[in-house]
Subunit: 402 residues, 2 copies
Amino acid sequence: MPETPPRPVPSSATSDAAARGARSVGIIGAGQLARMMLGPAIELGLTTPVLATDPAESAAAVAARVRLGRHDDEQAVRALAADVEVITFDHEHVPTEILGRLEQEGATAVRPGPAALVHAQDKLVMRERLTALGHPCPRWWRISSADDLAAALAETEGRIVVKTPRGGYDAHGVRIVDGADQADDWLAQHGELLAEELVPFTRELSAQVARRPGGEAVAYPVVQSVQKDGVCYEVVAPAPDLDASAQQRIQGLALAIAEDLGVTGMLAVELFETAEGEVLVNELAMRPHNTGHWSMDGAVTGQFEQHLRAVADLPLGSTTPLAPVSVMVNLLGGAAEDLAPGAHAALAANPALKIHLYGKSVRPGRKIGHVTLVGDDPEDLLARAHRAERLIIDGPETPVGT
Amino acid sequence: MPETPPRPVPSSATSDAAARGARSVGIIGAGQLARMMLGPAIELGLTTPVLATDPAESAAAVAARVRLGRHDDEQAVRALAADVEVITFDHEHVPTEILGRLEQEGATAVRPGPAALVHAQDKLVMRERLTALGHPCPRWWRISSADDLAAALAETEGRIVVKTPRGGYDAHGVRIVDGADQADDWLAQHGELLAEELVPFTRELSAQVARRPGGEAVAYPVVQSVQKDGVCYEVVAPAPDLDASAQQRIQGLALAIAEDLGVTGMLAVELFETAEGEVLVNELAMRPHNTGHWSMDGAVTGQFEQHLRAVADLPLGSTTPLAPVSVMVNLLGGAAEDLAPGAHAALAANPALKIHLYGKSVRPGRKIGHVTLVGDDPEDLLARAHRAERLIIDGPETPVGT
């Protein structure tokens, strides 16, 4: 068994022997993250209604309790909240003001709360706060005009990353520009934008932690992630060639951010690693995250169970890996419209393969599932996981390697 | 990583690359076994409606699709079957004749089929068949009258186990008698009974295997189980002090029974181990079984996922353990009516603890959940699991050890 990662002892959360935690957690949004909370919720005995915009959505299709409504419709959010002790999220797009009013009224706990969540909702707020706290960020600029962008471009060899502060996900809301007029449309739409230097990173890492309302927090092993067209594609846990002191330093950074921002639930800190071995914070997500899917099959407590425990204010679970190495490969929509024949072939080819399907219709590049494997050798595990991926998304008739 | 248990290569099931498996599996019965299939079904992308007699039943309360009706009402069973490609079972009490007619009509696959399932439904049929096949059984007698029972008692030092052929579960339908008139009520009710010698066993073992329609089969490690008042209470996987050759021999016995009887899905073979190291078959169950709950957290493929894969005719998953030792302790209803405070305390006491709650009201001795732990030392793991059990079923206010 691998060693237990560092587990900070909380100052305030151990004297709650008489506590019981929440019995009901409403989930706003019905994508695959909500879907993958449902299994652990059943085992923990938690009631988890989901707010879905369509009954065919990933989680809505398999949940026992579904309420139809939009995440930005205050009445719909309130109707879900009225049924539960806690609300949490499948995504970060619920307007901060709605959550602020709900929190102030106090009838339902909002976890993570809006004061924390705004740092995952608004990238300008995030950059400003992390910089003020002294956490490492790329160089960044607040852009209110083409002149601001021209000035930033002058400092960055003529190329820069521009991001919309709100509403982005995966590759959406991110653009690389080399001219001051190339963000005029977004400026007209958003008023302000975030510009960031193009970091010459050697690889991307992700640090995940969970934190309870009282402050108890745990860290997962830091993982290596590979993107494909701006979408998470491949994860190795723990990150190869990251020594124990670097692991601990980066876990400490993620724990500090969770504490500084008052996060409850899972927090993912996506990071750039530079050639000098430094890390810079790229993005924050306050929910289970694609870079943590490996933990469903590779850790004592998977991230979906952990998120529920954290937001229900139950004691957190061990993050100890179940094997020396876990890998995760995303299934991004490809040629096969029916995944079943390829999944069948992939399971036949490797009895150790774990397949997670999201019940979503196939569109090119869309996240429709993922596979995981645990073992000892990351290269071998990745090769096997990618063979399974090709079978599933291309179909079993397509020769592997084409 | 422990070694992979023996994995017999199937003769007929590897050439199905073009197959896809079933997409929908209807579950008859809505107890905790159906409930624990729901999480894996979501991940596999299977649709799994359940037939429940009451919407508050364990699985019905958390399933997305519930049909109300009794398992012995042919119209209710047919209505479920009409919605799915395969039906399977939470328990073995569906009348064999109903299943026989459904199978003959052929519109919906019945897995396990009635010709196999009857051996888990009718203990006389099971004893007769296993004896004919040469599989090791306790000495047994078919009892049609008090005279038959007197004759059997004369051969067994005056004490004998009497069982109703059908309808029993846990301690129900089992009685130890020392007089020929002590089964008159059951004789009047059932016509025929099964009598078995009281086996002087040293411990109970359980061997679980899974088998697909085409014959592919896998075996889990043989486990040691301890009963309490006739109910499964504690399991250690693999069984301590059972050498590799005994493990393989017993796995081979369970695989042979699955093949001989044509089982599809999970098969549990409960066994008596004698002082001479021989094993005798006690009971058969053709579904996920309490002695396999450890595999949810302790094996690459848990028994609930495996059962679904087997009955959906998907390739079977690895049974490799994720740790050298797994333990499972049942939560049997006790003093606490609300399990949440005790569960909270148990999770706080041990971050590695996995709790599975069944959402059932608490009655004394009723199975209301279970806990598991994985690690290296069975004694230590059992002690920790029992501490968690006491906290959960007595409540956190009760001093441990009382």
